[in-house]
């Protein structure tokens, strides 16, 4: 029986059988594989988090600036603001549980699960690459570097807007919730001290609202960057958050 394929491709018999693989494809395939970065709990957390934060932003905005008054039924049977606030509080509770779950996973998961919680500020190379990534975004370098985890700019954004930002929203959010839950309740015991310290709840509301806008700004940039990097960088991003695997588009080492 004659061998239809060049001998060095033997190992990739299966791919060859699909028919449309060119020799070049097979050459790359041989060198590249993927790195498993985001484990399932991190991925689930990410998408649940994205969903509840969207709910929190929309309902939170409407808590401060409510919808136009509606006359659907007698006040007894109408609960528009009530449902909006309920959705906010429910999402806030899921966010809180999820965040603690994520912290737990930072301990038991892989190294990449820990990246979001610390900044390597003493690492000179990290600073160098932060500037490098910034220059990539300012069109000053031709291509970015490759990263298994977050790139330094994404890393810094995650740390400040998410790790610290979500903590801030949880702290102020639970302090607000404690006001409704009442003195002596569990949220009050846990977070009521914050209002005692800040003084006026109006300030607490406004700090919480400022926090919302910072998170809106993060999400805008984050989603844009995720999509852009998926297309323009040397590695996968969106699919990484879906499958957990980071794939690279070239095989140069850095």
């Amino acid at each position: 029986m004659t061998d239809l394929h060049p001998p060095h491709l033997k190992a990739f018999e299966a791919s060859v059988l699909t028919g449309d693989a060119t020799a070049e494809d097979l050459e790359t395939l041989k060198k590249q594989s993927s790195v498993y970065v985001y484990e399932a709990p991190v991925r689930v957390w990410h998408w649940v988090n994205a969903l509840v934060i969207t709910v929190l932003v929309v309902t939170g905005y409407l808590i401060g600036k409510p919808l136009p008054s509606m006359q659907i039924a007698e006040a007894t049977h109408q609960f528009v603001m009530g449902y909006i606030r309920f959705a906010h509080f429910a999402a806030g509770m899921i966010l809180t549980v999820g965040f603690f779950g994520r912290i737990y996973w930072a301990f038991v998961g892989n190294t990449h699960a820990r990246q979001m919680f610390t900044l390597p500020v003493t690492n000179r190379r990290w600073w160098y690459e932060l500037i490098y990534e910034l220059r990539w975004y300012m069109f000053m370098v031709k291509e970015p570097k490759k990263y298994v985890g977050h790139n330094p700019m994404a890393h810094a954004a995650m740390f400040f807007f998410m790790t610290l930002g979500i903590s801030f929203m949880m702290i102020t959010g639970w302090a607000l919730y404690a006001e409704g839950a009442g003195q002596g309740s569990l949220p009050d015991t846990a977070m009521g001290w914050l209002l005692g310290w800040i003084g006026n709840s109006q300030i607490l509301h406004m700090l919480h609202r400022f926090g919302m806008w910072s998170i809106v700004i993060f999400v805008l940039i984050h989603v844009y960057a995720a999509l852009r990097e998926d297309i323009m960088s040397r590695q996968s991003t969106v699919s990484t958050m879906l499958s957990g695997h980071r794939t690279f588009k070239d095989d140069r080492p850095d």
């Binding site: 401060g64 600036k65 409510p66 919808l67 136009p68 008054s69 509606m70 006359q71 006040a75 007894t76 109408q78 609960f79 528009v80 603001m81 009530g82 909006i84 975004y137 069109f139 006001e179 409704g180 009442g182 003195q183 009521g192 001290w193 209002l195 005692g196 003084g199 006026n200 709840s201 109006q202 300030i203 607490l204 509301h205 406004m206 700090l207 609202r209 400022f210 919302m212 806008w213 910072s214 809106v216 700004i217 805008l220 940039i221 844009y224 852009r228 297309i231 323009m232």
Partner: protein
């Protein structure tokens, strides 16, 4: 000490009957949220305890606290409480004036050393050595410190003594300072409001006189029984809030229907006070019932929380006047615009690169 009359004796001297006295005890118990079992306890305490004198001093203030106080809803309660308080020294109510008044204050302090309650209306300004408020030829802050030294406890009446109120509003040119920041070594109870509700004032003072201790305080040092909940928690318009039915403009149809005043800037959701339950002027009404939102008068720094008529207010938190929505929306808009431009440039660059590849 033994010569000092008991509360009961004082009341009888004022012509209050035994029957009225018992009524008063029952009324006080219910005002303080205590069960019927406490009525005889209060009566017993009043019959056996020597009355506790109260010295009432005034700093930077508008006298609205005194005015509120003497308008207690139940005339009996008011008379009783007034008779229990030493009126030897109270600018508004005392008979004497000038040197005689200052001498009376000194006498009371000496006579009841360590045993009197100091009620403070208003606050001391500290700039220029306190010269912005002079009482009896001396800065008020000196009188305050002097009177506080031998006091058993201090009551901070109203927003002024508790938090500073309008004279302490930004930029606070006289450095008007709440009492607890000047006197730090005495138990202080804050009874904020501009003014506080009369029944709240008499309730607090009665509690302290009968039980010889401060009522249970919350984290900010206010009596929890009156300041434990927000206006919003007990507001009778709350069902309209939950329904999402709001007054949109003054005097619109929703205003006539008595909808929630949230969009008109009501500060009920951020204000701890008893207005929505105790109400004002003998329980007649309170601001929200009259169609105007709460302005948050019993809250720390209520003059500096932006407009009374906005819910999302300007705040001076970052040293500049900032509104979360204006600033946030502006920033988000700018970021959105920048992203659009960045995306366009990115697409262009990418197209260029492809072109180069094809040509090269």
């Amino acid at each position: 000490m033994t010569q000092i009359e008991t509360f009961y004796e004082v009341m009888r001297k004022q012509g209050i009957t035994r029957r009225s006295f018992m009524k008063y005890c029952a009324l006080t118990a219910s005002a303080l949220g205590l069960g019927p079992a406490f009525v005889p306890k209060i009566a017993h305490a009043m019959e056996t305890k020597p009355r506790t004198p109260v010295i009432w001093v005034s700093g930077l203030e508008c006298t609205c606290c005194s005015e509120s106080f003497i308008r207690g809803a139940h005339p009996l309660a008011k008379d009783v409480v007034l008779s229990m308080i030493s009126l030897d020294y109270n600018h508004t109510l005392m008979a004497s004036a000038g040197h005689a008044a200052e001498a009376a204050l000194e006498e009371t302090i000496q006579k009841y050393k360590g045993n009197y309650i100091l009620a403070v209306e208003g606050n001391p300004p500290l700039n220029e050595d306190g010269m912005f408020c002079i009482v009896g030829g001396k800065p008020f802050v000196e009188q305050l410190k002097h009177a506080a030294k031998d006091a058993k406890a201090i009551i901070s009446w109203g927003a002024c003594a508790s938090y500073g109120c309008v004279q302490a509003a930004h930029p606070n040119p006289t450095r008007a300072t709440p009492v607890h920041k000047v006197i730090t070594d005495k138990p202080i109870i804050k009874v904020p409001g501009c003014p506080p509700i009369a029944e709240v004032m008499t309730g607090v003072i009665t509690y302290m006189l009968t039980f010889d201790r401060l009522p249970e305080l919350d984290r900010q040092g206010r009596p929890a029984m009156f300041y434990g909940q927000r206006i919003h928690d007990k507001c009778y318009r709350r069902p309209h809030f939950d329904a999402g039915q709001f007054v949109e403009h003054w005097d619109d149809d929703n205003a006539r229907k008595g909808y929630c005043l949230y969009k008109m800037g009501c500060k009920g959701p951020t204000t701890y006070n008893a207005c929505s339950t105790v109400r004002w002027n003998e329980g007649t009404s309170f601001p929200i019932q009259s169609g105007h939102g709460c302005i948050g008068c019993s809250e720390d720094g209520f003059w500096d929380q932006g407009s009374f008529y906005d819910r999302v207010t300007n705040l001076n938190v970052f040293g500049i006047e900032a509104n979360a929505d204006k600033l946030g929306m502006g920033a988000a808009g700018a970021v959105g615009g920048a992203i659009a431009v960045h995306a366009a440039v990115s697409a262009l660059k990418r197209a260029q690169k492809k072109q180069e590849k094809v040509e090269g």
